[in-house]
C-alpha cells in the first residue's frame, strides 16, 4: 500500500518523465507488436498455401473406374493422407479451361480431350514435409494404372525453407526489438532514478532500508511497463485496423500473444527499474 502510494506519487511528482517513459516503451513494444502482427499473418498465409500441398497422380486412360475407386480408398487410409479426390478427364479439361483463361478458346477448339484423369491427394498437416510427400508419391506410382505422380518437389521445398527462414528471422528480429525495448525501458527508468538520486541519498541518510527505497521504483517500473504495453497494444490495433481497411485482410493476434506482450512489457519495466535502483543504491553508499 505504502509502496503503491509512493509509486503513484513518484509518477505524480514527475508526470512528464513518466509520460515520456510510457511513450518510449510504447513505441518500442509497438515495433514488437507490428512484427508479431506481420509474423502471425505470414504464418496464417503460409499454412493456407501449405494446405494446398498435394500429390497429383495422373491415371492411364485405360484404368477402370472401379479399380480407381478401390485405390482411392486405399490411398486415403495412408497415415499421411487426408483425402484423395478423383478428377475425371472431363473435369480436368473443365478446370484447365477455367484456370487458364488465355487458352480457353484453344481448348474449346480441341477435338480430343488431351488431359488425363487424376487423383488429387491432400496430405495431413503433420505430413507435409518434403520427405513425406515423396514417400506418398512413390507409393502411389506403384499402382499399375498410375502413369505418373507429380507433386511440385521444388514448391514443397520452397515452402519449407521459407517457413524456416521466416521462423529464424522472427526469432532474430523479435529478440533485437525486445533488446531495443529493454534498452529504452532501462533508459527511462534509469532517468527516473537519476532524477531522484538526491531523494534516494536523503532516504538512506534518514535510515530507510534498501527494500523500502526500492519497492516504489519496482511498482513504478511495472506500471510504466504495463502502460507502455497497453499503448503498444492500442497502436498495433490501430495499425491492424488501418491496414485491414485499406490494404489487405489480416488476422489479429492470438489473445495469448497480446497477454504475453503485456506481461513482457510489465516485467521488463520492473526488472529494468530494479536493476537501475540497485545500482544507484550501491553507488550512493560506501558500505
Amino acid at each position: 500500500m505504502r509502496s503503491l502510494r509512493e509509486a503513484l506519487s513518484g509518477i505524480r511528482r514527475a508526470p512528464a518523465l513518466t509520460v515520456l517513459s510510457v511513450m518510449a516503451i510504447g513505441l518500442s513494444v509497438f515495433s514488437i507488436g507490428l512484427f508479431a502482427l506481420t509474423a502471425h499473418n505470414i504464418d496464417v498465409a503460409l499454412s493456407d498455401v501449405e494446405g494446398r500441398v498435394e500429390v497429383v497422380a495422373y491415371l492411364r486412360d485405360d484404368a477402370s473406374e472401379e479399380l480407381i475407386e478401390i485405390a482411392r480408398h486405399e490411398i486415403e487410409s495412408y497415415p499421411e493422407v487426408e483425402s484423395a479426390r478423383y478428377v475425371s478427364k472431363v473435369e480436368a479439361l473443365y478446370e484447365a479451361s477455367r484456370e487458364l483463361t488465355e487458352f480457353s478458346d484453344v481448348y474449346s477448339d480441341l477435338e480430343v480431350n488431351p488431359l488425363p484423369a487424376s487423383l488429387e491427394i491432400a496430405l495431413r498437416p503433420d505430413f507435409r514435409t518434403p520427405v513425406d510427400v515423396e514417400t506418398v508419391a512413390d507409393r502411389v506410382t506403384s499402382y499399375h494404372f498410375v502413369e505418373e505422380a507429380r507433386y511440385g518437389r521444388e514448391w514443397v521445398d520452397r515452402i519449407y525453407s521459407l517457413r524456416r527462414v521466416a521462423g529464424g528471422a522472427a526469432v532474430i528480429l523479435g529478440l533485437s526489438f525486445a533488446f531495443g525495448a529493454a534498452l529504452l525501458i532501462g533508459i527511462a527508468v534509469r532517468m527516473s532514478v537519476l532524477a531522484r538520486a538526491r531523494e534516494i541519498a536523503v532516504m538512506q541518510t534518514v535510515g530507510a532500508t534498501d527494500g523500502y527505497i526500492r519497492r516504489p521504483f519496482l511498482i513504478e517500473g511495472l506500471m510504466t511497463g504495463l502502460g507502455g504495453g497497453l499503448l503498444a497494444l492500442a497502436l498495433t490495433f490501430v495499425t491492424y485496423q488501418a491496414v485491414e481497411r485499406t490494404l489487405v485482410s489480416l488476422a489479429w493476434l492470438p489473445d495469448l500473444w497480446t497477454a504475453a506482450g503485456l506481461a513482457f512489457a510489465g516485467i521488463l519495466g520492473m526488472l529494468a527499474a530494479g536493476r537501475a535502483v540497485r545500482r544507484e543504491l550501491r553507488r550512493l553508499d560506501v558500505y
Partner: protein, 226 residues
C-alpha cells in the same frame, strides 16, 4: 555511545581530512566540535553516521563498529543517529511537514502518531506557519530549522548537528540551542559542529573538542580514548 579510535580519513589528496583522532562521547553527553573552515568537522560527523568509511582506525557507534558493520545494518544505525546536515538535504519535492513526516514513515511509525509528532516538532523550531511550504519557498534559516526538526523526529540516541545555527539570527540560534539542551537532558548524546565563537564563550561548561587541519588539538574532557 560514540567512540573514535585513532581514526584517519584521507580522500586521496595531499593531507588527510581527519588524522589520528580519538575521543569518546558518552551516553547523554553534550560536546561542541570546533575548528577553522576545512578542519575536518563535517568529516567527523559523516564518519559517525557511517557515510564515510575510515581509512584507518575504528569508529564505534552504539553497538556498531565501522570495521564490522554490514550494509543491511546501516538503516538501523542511521535511525538512531539524527543528523542535521550543513547543507540541510531536504527533499525538494516535499513540503516542510512532509519532509519531517518522511523520516517517521521510513522507520515505520504508526500513521496516527505521525501528524501530531510533526506538528509538535514544527512548533519547537518555530515553523508552524510555514508547514506547507516547499524548501525553495523557505528562507535559508527556515530550511535549516526543518532539517533540525527532521533530525529530532525519531528521538535519536545521538544527535549530530553540523553548523545548525549558521543561517540563524541570535534569537533563533538560542531557540535551537535550548532545544538541543532539552533533548540532551532526556538522554540523547549531542555532537555539535560550530564555529560560533560567541556560543562557545556563552557555554563554558560544555565540553569542547577542537580540530586543526584534521588533528584533535584540544578536548576539554581530557582523556582521549576511554
Amino acid at each position: 555511545m560514540v567512540q573514535f579510535r585513532s581514526v584517519t580519513k584521507s580522500f586521496g589528496g595531499s593531507s588527510p581530512a581527519v588524522l589520528d583522532v580519538s575521543f569518546h562521547l558518552r551516553k547523554g553527553e553534550f560536546a561542541f566540535l570546533t575548528g577553522a573552515s576545512g578542519a575536518g568537522k563535517t568529516t567527523i560527523l559523516k564518519l559517525v553516521h557511517m557515510l564515510h568509511r575510515p581509512s584507518s582506525g575504528e569508529v564505534r557507534v552504539s553497538r556498531y563498529s565501522s570495521s564490522r558493520i554490514k550494509r543491511r545494518d546501516l538503516p538501523d544505525l542511521r535511525r538512531r543517529v539524527g543528523y542535521i546536515f550543513q547543507d540541510f538535504r531536504l527533499l525538494e519535492n516535499l513540503t516542510a511537514e512532509e519532509n519531517i513526516a518522511f523520516a517517521l514513515q521510513v522507520t515505520g511509525t504508526a500513521k496516527a502518531k505521525i501528524a501530531p509528532r510533526v506538528r509538535k516538532l514544527l512548533n519547537q523550531v518555530g515553523l508552524a506557519a510555514r508547514a506547507q511550504a516547499f524548501p525553495r519557498e523557505l528562507s535559508g534559516g527556515e530550511q535549516q530549522r526543518v532539517a533540525v526538526a527532521r533530525a529530532l523526529a525519531n528521538e535519536p540516541l545521538v544527535l549530530l548537528a553540523d553548523e545548525p545555527t549558521g543561517n540563524l539570527d541570535e534569537r533563533a540560534s538560542s531557540g535551537v540551542f535550548e532545544l538541543f539542551r532539552r533533548i540532551n537532558a532526556s538522554g540523547t548524546s549531542v555532537l555539535m559542529a560550530t564555529h560560533d565563537a560567541e556560543l562557545l564563550r556563552r557555554h563554558r561548561n560544555v565540553r569542547v573538542i577542537e580540530l586543526e587541519e584534521g588533528r584533535l588539538v584540544f578536548d576539554s574532557a581530557g582523556d582521549p580514548v576511554a
